[in-house]
Symmetry: C2
Subunit: 416 residues, 2 copies
């Protein structure tokens, strides 16, 4: 994409009313727009990152047998009354609205109830199970305060998967498969080293223990205790000798850290299936309860976490897997030879299937280089009088700051 065509501009001043690093950088880079506190729109480059994260998650969810659906935002109170969760005293962060034809509706806070109720029409026999259903859908949470940028939104995109199993044993097999898929996802989006499977309390969804995935960050709201060598952690709220023994961890090897919860997986047992009448007929013709689990990753929070954790003083640092573009091609100087050479390289990159953002704007070099750092593409490729004279491109790695001088053919081999 030609940067001269991109409507979203960068800015150098921090936005007012933002305290979170992720929101400051994403707004300054022109990747998101703040609609109001906790509510952010995605501009073209930000949306590209969001879609790439979505693709990584979709691939991993499909690989473990997930079937994708798209549930609705407007929620029918009838099915929520069956679990008692329409009550504001039970779920305290609902947004609700009213039908002009009469009656109150919920605005999707989560989707256990509608997915379970929908499956009543489709699951009958033991032969139909297990089933894993997931979606990418916006959630709405009526937070009293929203102050962590896009990491704790009132409106945010989430991947939520629900598992429906015949038995607790069958459920646990999938639970572990999903935990492994989650670790692959966090590794693929560049947070593998920073993210720990973490034993935690189940919160309002379950009474037992659950697993969270926590990414180390000073911006986090959680306190966890990590064992770096075993790459495991325990949330402070469940740090007991019994739980440490369960994980084979010892207090002496633990390190306290602040962290961001980027994913969670919950056993739900029979709570929702019982309440909504979802059961299956077993081999002997008897009705049996269905054992459920839920598995969530907030995509906009994950995007914000990548920014929080990997950014440096110059700006955002995108891992190649989710960067808006693989290459930021920057033409310095407006001489005709530079312009022509840059145009040609841009065309050749497209031809080679390499996604490039081409800074073809007529701006001072300092401004363009500053923007390249702020926007954070993995490779910055400079075309200038100097590089033309040398017959090589200047290629800078955004993360390591390493500079190399490569021919176009050498550059292209990096993407093979």
């Amino acid at each position: 994409m030609r940067q001269s065509q991109l409507f979203a501009r960068t800015r150098w001043e921090d936005p007012t009313e933002e305290t979170a690093k992720n929101a400051k950088l994403l707004i300054r880079a022109g990747l998101v727009h703040k609609e109001m506190a906790g509510v952010y729109a995605f501009l073209p480059l930000g949306l590209r990152v969001l879609r790439k994260i979505e693709t990584v998650i979709r691939e991993e969810m499909n690989a473990i047998g997930g079937q994708e659906v798209l549930m609705t935002t407007l929620q029918n109170p009838e099915i929520w009354h069956k679990t008692g969760r329409f009550d504001d005293a039970v779920v305290d962060n609902w947004f609700k609205t009213k039908l002009v034809s009469g009656g109150e509706l919920g605005i999707a806070n989560t989707h256990e109830e509608p997915i379970t109720a929908m499956l009543v029409h489709h699951l009958k026999s033991y032969k139909d199970l297990p089933v894993y259903v997931y979606q990418f859908q916006t959630k709405f949470r009526n937070e009293l305060r929203a102050k962590s940028g896009i990491m704790r939104g009132r409106e945010f995109l989430m991947k939520d998967l629900y598992s429906f199993s015949r038995t607790e044993v069958e459920f646990h097999t999938f639970y572990e498969q999903c935990a492994a898929a989650y670790l692959r996802i966090f590794a693929r989006v560049g947070l593998g080293d920073h993210t720990f499977r973490t034993l935690a309390a189940g919160g309002s969804f379950t009474t037992g223990l659950t697993d969270e995935f926590q990414t180390l960050s000073e911006a986090g709201e959680d306190i966890i205790y990590i064992d770096r060598s075993k790459h495991l952690a325990v949330n402070k709220e469940v740090l007991t000798d019994e739980n440490l023994a369960r994980l084979g961890l010892e207090r002496a090897n633990l390190e306290e850290a602040k962290s961001i919860e980027v994913g969670n997986i919950f056993p739900l047992g029979h709570r929702y299936s019982d309440a909504l009448g979802l059961k299956y007929r077993d081999e002997s013709g008897l009705d049996q309860p269905i054992y459920m689990g839920s598995y969530g990753i907030g995509l906009s929070r994950l995007l914000g976490t990548i920014v929080e954790v990997l950014a440096d003083d110059g700006g955002i640092v995108w891992p190649a897997s989710v960067a808006p573009f693989a290459v930021h091609l920057v033409a310095l100087g407006s001489s005709e030879p530079v312009r022509q050479a840059a145009d040609q390289i841009y065309a050749d990159l497209s031809q080679a299937g390499v996604e490039a953002l081409f800074d073809d704007r007529d701006l001072p070099a300092g401004e363009k280089l500053g923007d390249a750092d702020l926007l954070g593409m993995p490779l910055r490729v400079i075309v200038s009088e100097k590089t033309l004279a040398a017959g090589k491109l200047e290629v800078k790695n955004r993360q390591t700051a390493e500079i190399r001088h490569l021919t176009f053919a050498e550059l292209i081999t990096e993407f093979k």
Copy 2:
């Protein structure tokens, strides 16, 4: 995909409480789930169609210079007060909600205001224009009644593009480019012959005339007058001699028809840019107003229209461009040779990059063939004792019912 793994089942009884053909068929085929009146969830095969329609539209919007964003569902009343449109007396089908921290919010009814307000931060100079911004985002309309299945939802997915031009002339150039793109979109999703560019009244968005795109269907809520040879139409509400003359049409050549509005394009003039303070600085340093237009296609309505218009007595008929799968591979009989041959053909189709739904279920032949008709993939490929003996596959075209006997190699050439 193996049909034995697909959780969504077909059913033979029409759903109760549905009068619209599109909803009856989509629910019977297991493509959508009715959450409540006018609110439908998409199940795996339905979501595949929705995403394919989205891809077609995205390609055409990118081709005319559109930049994709994702605005928000929660709407800040402040910016809507500037145009007066937060008032229920002005826009009568808002859903609204309340922040727990105080204050009312809108639930996205449309997005002129937020997109215009967002661009105030990004557009400054004549050099920044024209700009075309679009999104795929859910809209919410508080309809008193919802009775046309997924064609008039209380919640529905829409592509909305907004154009920002320096002058009315610049706007009109893009307006015609977008009209041409719309005709390509409707042709690509299989509705080209049935869909007419139609002169219409502007409704609440504008005082002048606008263009609608109307697809002929008895299920439609509009009455239009079409000239088949010129492939143009006039909405009944603006059928005047003056307007006919403007289009070069004559009353004698017109035919009355019922139709579904599948797209619309509106001149917005300076209404929103003036109200929200969006202007640009021209070459001489003077502030100038920005001329806007809006361009909408409802994706879920378009999906419903394809079903309404192309379905036959046997069920849905998908055009290849948006079908959930290109091929429905059906194994008849459960003998080991049939099973093995079908498995091999399924693997070979995947290998060749052909998307196939593989009916590997242990069900009577009649039920599987009925499901294949109901689900409506473009090609049904049968593997049975009979086809194995003949050494050829039985390939049926869902639309024409033509049956051919092809080798696998011959089948594959259809997709080259």
